[in-house]
Symmetry: C2
Subunit: 265 residues, 2 copies
């Protein structure tokens, strides 16, 4: 089965091929990918494959597995990935704060940013209590509309942009998450009125609940969102208010710090 070509479509073919190699490797998880995996899934010759593998290895984007003939993602990606997740320096600022929150309340806290029509998870900090979430780890992506953080992000985009995104995601939201646009718009209204988001109930993860608040820059555009997730049974009125206040305090402090940092060019 050839790799999905709709995503990795245009551009210099060498580049596309290289990225396809990385994708195939990533799909292999911690076992990586074998020469055959590449040859089966991709559509270029073996010498070319080896040339690219060699190049990617030299750049640190791949490394060879202890198992001969298998390849793993290289640590250079780790460095770049850590950088990539630090958009606006947000991640560094958020990390210790998420930890504080998780330790204090025992729930799990997240930092999200917008990535096109998706929300991408920049950082997770799990607490002591068990938790179910759509994202498993840093780097996880969700279509905007799923989860409370999505709502917090969507609410502060322009109306046109928002409807464009929702329109784009509508089918997927309904099919995969059983979430209707109406529900999302209702929650956006709730976010705008009360300053926090709760997420739309879908068919998945019915026993979990969460909260999210946006992280806005000085002009009101969303830089990201902080969210938390917990068992519904833990979401008592008082706990909700406590956690919400905790999150708001941390985000306010973050934004202050950010302003100190962002504007010294």
């Amino acid at each position: 089965m050839p790799v999905n070509e709709s995503i990795t479509s245009s551009g210099p073919t060498t580049l596309v091929h290289a990225m396809q190699i990385l994708q195939v490797t990533a799909r292999g998880g911690h076992r990586g990918a074998s020469v055959d995996d590449y040859l089966n899934e991709l559509s270029f010759s073996r010498p070319t494959l080896y040339r690219l593998l060699k190049g990617l290895k030299q750049q640190g984007f791949l490394r060879s597995s202890p198992i001969r003939g298998r390849y793993l993602l290289g640590y250079e990606l780790l460095v770049l990935g850590a950088q990539a997740g630090n958009g606006a320096g947000l991640r560094d600022l958020a990390r210790p704060r998420l930890l504080t929150l998780a330790q204090r309340w025992g729930d799990s806290f997240y930092l999200f940013a917008r990535d096109g029509v998706n929300a991408v998870c920049l950082e997770v900090q799990n607490g002591a209590y068990p938790v179910g979430s759509f994202v498993r780890a840093t780097g996880g992506r969700l279509p905007l509309g799923v989860g409370q953080a999505s709502i917090a992000l969507l609410a502060y985009l322009g109306a046109d942009e928002r409807s464009e995104i929702l329109n784009h995601n509508a089918e997927q939201l309904m099919d995969e998450y059983a979430i209707a646009i109406d529900g999302i718009e209702a929650e956006i209204a709730h976010q705008l009125k009360h300053g926090y988001a709760r997420g739309v109930e879908g068919s998945l993860l019915p026993e979990y609940s969460g909260l999210a608040i946006p992280i806005l820059d000085h002009s009101g555009h969303p830089l990201g969102a902080m969210s938390c997730s917990m068992l519904k049974s833990r979401m008592t009125k008082s706990h909700k208010l406590e956690v919400l206040q905790g999150m708001q305090e941390e985000v306010a402090a973050m934004v202050n710090q950010a302003h100190g940092l962002l504007y010294l060019d």
Copy 2:
């Protein structure tokens, strides 16, 4: 000033150029890089630059900054980076354990793996106490020889491989860290005798101290190392023993889990 060409030397030039673009972008931190940055630091024409930028953007490896004409690392790198750091599935296993340790003892705990002649930090979990460390975050790299985790990793490599690495790093270790090979070998001996590493005293970070233990696979090869760092004043004999035991328990549990996971093909 052109980008360091010794690292990014050979391979298909398109690939090299693309990676150079990513490196330049990464160097810009959360401010990314501008068209001029690329044109100054790299040696290809503007149309080519734009073609590559476009390609990289389509692949999700770059995104354009809110500031026009600047580019940031894309979130695809985040996904790949998260994967890359999960060598042997170790990171997923270690993450909650590092958190437990950090919460329990208040010190900072790390997961390291070997990356050629370097040690790369796969995960950090800071505790409540302030801490100084050579690595600031996930993705940080140190020449093998620096820090306690390095010792733990080096100790379980073959003698020939070890001396090759030390030979390679010797100059840098002395110049940048004021660490002598003799000292490293002494600490390796200590690791092998007592099962844990303490790190070699260099001129940097004199007020901090640490411990590390290796994470070995079934055949005794090092998969990684777990380490901790703390103010010297906190390193009492009893605290040291407690932390060490805590780390050993967590690593033992990890290795058990790993064996359960790694061998079901």
